[in-house]
Every structure is written in structure tokens, then in C-alpha cells.
Symmetry: C2
DNA sequence: CGCCTATTTGATCCTCATCAAAGAATGTGG
DNA sequence: CCACATTCTTTGATGAGGATCAAATAGGCG
């Protein structure tokens, strides 16, 4: 079962008491970081905290002064209406930052909640801010991650506003497959999915009942084989087409092949220009 | 009519041929910018370009190497499906940055299109990158703006996923009122609205017909008085409640009273700590 | 084994989409 | 200044996708 496997991974890691390092998060995957910046990330003190399923890292509307880096397990950002309707605005996977907004905003309108057991690295805002202020490369990572969340949200907007239930589900599963690392694989893909259909409903803006029916539809069409806790994608090409999915917006490709833009490059080139004269 | 008034404002400004400055955009509103940073923004060369209604600043999926700062008029970010359904993911008002993503991404999945006549300041990515690399305060503005777009998108996600048509419309109008500067006014508010009902439908994930019906509903309930090109909010409190609107997520308040976080502050305090000894 | 939670399926209802067409505003050219 | 085309708004009639209500089944866990 999914929760079990997630917890297992957590247990294979270092002693939970041990303060652990930001270098294990997605932050480390940016190609333009200097050795000093990587060292600063390693040396940045962070309290590793095991968190149980259902735990609220940030309560909706509460003031925040801690940035949480998700080490293991899944989490989500969500909002609720006064009468209790809930919408999940972002799914957070291992390595993601749970509430980057806390770097610049004292108060968030969204809550953050664990969807599985797992563990987070908690870092006071002050400390993250210092890191960002002293190391431009790290600051750029934060900006990059923020803009990247943006493109994901824009795309989700299209899903919620214009796609049918079947299309939304197909899209979500494609997105998760890519974000979990099954990138451009053409063959069948299988991955653990700790979300319940109710969670999925809260992501897709549907009812759990209708999510279930959409699953069945995709299954009978031969695109999927879903069992509790596991998704098997039988026909990934068809699933992509069904979900209007184009992986470009996730920007994983750039990170992999190291073609991300480095702002300092621009600066270096400008300096060159000064010596060479204008244009 | 709305378009006309927008154009009028544009004409009151300086010579359209003249290269204009970034200090006229929302960038200038950040309290923590140093005089040098403000000067750098003023000195940053930008070509001012009048743009006509319907013009595409960025075509969906095309590579981009220019950042557009919206000076006058309204624009939007949008996405379309293969079969032509369209979703507007962001409305851009005067002062907004149209495609901040272009700072760090070479290719965008969203298009940017003018919804009225207006004018933009076009700045090559390189030049914005240099600015960001040399002036940490400006870099922080970009990050702030990115994260701010994020919270707006998260909220839109709630609207699209969980609110009824009437609620969505009420929410959008409240958001626009605040973003246009009619902040906490309790009395009746009137503002120009150049969007057609079709545009609104593309924002809210509805059909134009249903947007029209939602308008009529709000009008007969006595919350609104809408005519072509103008919105009159009669009962702002009721409209807020109808749209589940809480203005906090827009973070305009912090900007106004200057309570935005300055990352350099954290750094200064840390330095103090070093002299005072730990804790 | 029994409790609890998650998935599955059925029946009915309602919100919103679709199709169609008439009216108001705006802009254009003569 | 008026006739006409165009675009936007408004209203009606009908249909479909998804919500809601209800209950049965299956799976995980103590």
C-alpha cells in the first residue's frame, strides 16, 4: 500500500532527530548553483519533523513564520468556503516546498495539510530570508519555483474551467506521472498514488462519486488500470490526448538537461559588452 | 465607453515615441527599494509600444525573449484546448507585468493578448535579468509579484472548482474592484469594465449566456447595476459575501502601509546576532 | 473477526451548456 | 446626419454533464 511504502522510504533515511539539510530537496537540482551556495544550503539548520497523515502544517488564514520543505510523503495546499466546500489548489510531492509564500508574506490564505505520513524540514522564515539575501542563486531558485507553481496553476485553471471530468482526471494523472519522474516514457507506467478519490475530487473540482465514474470510464476505455493506491497507465499516448496534456508547462526538461536560465549569465554578458563597446 | 476612456488616459501621457520607464509600473510601489534601485529602474531602457485591442503580445507556446510591462489598457493570459475552448488564467491591469515567467523560462505555455487598446513597455529578457542580478531589491519585487500571482491563481482555483456561477461572478467583481484601487470602501463603488461578457465567461469557466444570466441575477438581487462598460456595486458587503470574497489574498494592504517583508532586513538582524552572540 | 474508511453502483435532480433569435450599442462610410 | 454592418447583450427552449442522495461492497487495520 502506498502509505506503507512512503513510510518505508522515510525510515531508510537518517535518524529523525537529526537536523537534516535542504540539499535533499528540489532546491539542489538547479544547475546554476555555485559550490558555496550548495554548501550554504547544506549548512542551513533545519528541524526535521515527522508528520502524520491529516496533520495541518499551516492552518488556513493563520500567520506563518516557518517555511516547510517536504521531505517525504504527499501534502496539499487547500482552501475552503464558509459552508465547507474544499478545493485543493496544489499537490505537494517529496522535494517540494510546502509554503514558499511564507518567505514574503506573513499570512497565507491557503492551508497546508499532509495527505500521507511523511516528514518535513522546518526552517524559520528569517533563516530562509537570510539565505535568499546572501546567495542570489538560491534566491533565483525560489523565484523559479514560484513561477513554476504559477504555470502549474494556470494549467489547472484550464482544467477546472474548460475540461470535462474525464479530461481533468486524465490530465491530473499525466501530470503526476511526470512530476513523479516517469518523464517521457512511452511504455506503460505504474506508480503509487496515495490520494483517495475524495482528494482527487477536491483537486479536480468534482464529487468523489463522479471521480469514481470517470475512473471507470478511463478503465473501460483501456487507458488505465487503477487499484486502490496504485495507478497503471496502459496507453500513455491516449491518456495524454484524453487530458489535453502537454508536459512543457512543468519545465522538468530544462532542469534535467541543465538549460535553465542563469540570471548571472546576463550580468556577465553585459560586463563583456562594456569592454567591447556597445553592440 | 470604457475603451475610449482607457485610450484617453494613454493619450494624456508622454510622447508614445519616447522610451519610457519601469518606474511607472507596480514595481515602483514596493517600499523597500533603495534610491539606487529606483534609479536603475528609471534608467532601464524600454521601448514603449502602443498596442491595439486583440493584439497578441505572446502567442501560446511560442518562445519569448521579451518581458512586457503593461502601461495602459487591460490584457489577459489565456490557454486554449485543441478544439478551441479558451480559458483566461489571469487578467492584467495597468501596471502589471504581462509575462514575468519570461524572466526565467524561454517558452511559455500561455498566450498574452490585449483586451483593450493600450500600451506596453517592452524590455528584452537580458536587460531585465541584468537588473534582477544587480539589484536584489528588484529581484525581490519579481519574486513578490510571482508569489502574488500565485495566491490569486490559487483563489481562482477555488472559484472554478467549487463556486457557483453567481458566486464566481461576484468574486471576480470584488477582486477587480480591489485591484483597481477601490480598496476597503464601504459605500457604493463604480468602475469602468472593458471586458465583454464573453471575456468574463472565459475567466470564470462559463458560457457567455450564463454569465449574462448571473449578471441579471445579481442585478435583480440589488447587489449590482451593470451597464455596458461600467459596473456599479450597490451593496459591496452583500457582494463580498455572495462571492466568498476576502481581500487578504491580494496583499494590497501590505503594499499600501509598507509592511512588506524586506529580505535584507533579515540579513541585517543576523549580522547583529553575530555581534551579540547567539540568542 | 469486526470496525472503519474507501470504492462502487443506482436513481433522481439541478445547474449550466447549447441552440436560436431578437434587441441594443457601437462604429463606418456615404 | 443617417443607413447599415458588426458586435455585444438579452431572453427563451431544450438537453446534458455532473451533483446529490442512498446503499451495497470491498479493503485495511486493530
Amino acid at each position: 500500500m502506498a502509505n506503507g511504502s512512503v513510510r518505508t522510504i522515510a525510515m531508510l533515511r537518517a535518524d529523525p532527530r537529526l537536523a537534516n539539510s535542504l540539499a535533499d530537496t528540489r532546491l539542489a537540482s538547479f544547475p546554476f548553483l555555485t559550490p558555496e551556495e550548495r554548501a550554504a544550503m547544506r549548512d542551513c539548520a533545519a528541524t526535521r519533523r515527522p508528520v502524520r497523515i491529516g496533520m495541518e502544517l499551516v492552518r488556513e488564514g493563520d500567520p506563518v513564520d516557518t517555511v516547510y520543505f517536504l521531505e517525504d510523503g504527499w501534502a496539499c495546499q487547500y482552501t475552503t468556503t464558509r459552508d465547507g466546500r474544499r478545493q485543493i489548489s496544489a499537490l505537494l510531492l517529496p522535494g517540494d516546498i510546502c509554503n514558499l509564500d511564507a518567505l514574503l508574506f506573513r499570512q497565507l490564505d491557503v492551508g497546508v495539510r499532509m495527505l500521507t505520513h511523511g516528514s518535513v524540514l522546518a526552517v524559520p522564515r528569517e533563516r530562509v530570508a537570510t539565505l535568499a539575501a546572501n546567495y542570489p542563486g538560491i534566491m533565483q531558485c525560489f523565484t523559479w519555483l514560484g513561477l513554476s507553481e504559477n504555470t502549474i496553476l494556470s494549467r489547472r485553471t484550464l482544467c477546472l474551467g474548460r475540461l470535462s471530468a474525464r479530461e481533468r482526471l486524465a490530465h491530473l494523472l499525466c501530470e503526476l506521472a511526470v512530476r513523479l519522474g516517469h518523464v517521457a516514457s512511452e511504455g506503460p507506467v505504474t506508480f503509487a498514488m496515495p490520494l483517495t478519490q475524495e482528494h482527487i475530487a477536491d483537486v479536480l473540482g468534482l464529487t468523489p462519486v463522479h471521480v469514481n465514474r470517470s475512473f471507470r470510464q478511463l478503465r473501460t476505455e483501456g487507458l488505465l488500470s487503477s487499484t486502490r493506491g496504485t495507478i497503471g497507465v496502459c496507453d500513455i499516448v491516449a491518456l495524454r490526448r484524453a487530458g489535453e496534456f502537454q508536459p512543457g508547462y512543468l519545465h522538468v526538461q530544462e532542469l534535467r538537461n541543465g538549460s535553465t536560465i542563469d540570471l548571472r549569465d546576463a550580468n556577465r554578458r553585459e560586463t563583456l559588452h562594456m569592454f567591447e563597446g556597445p553592440r
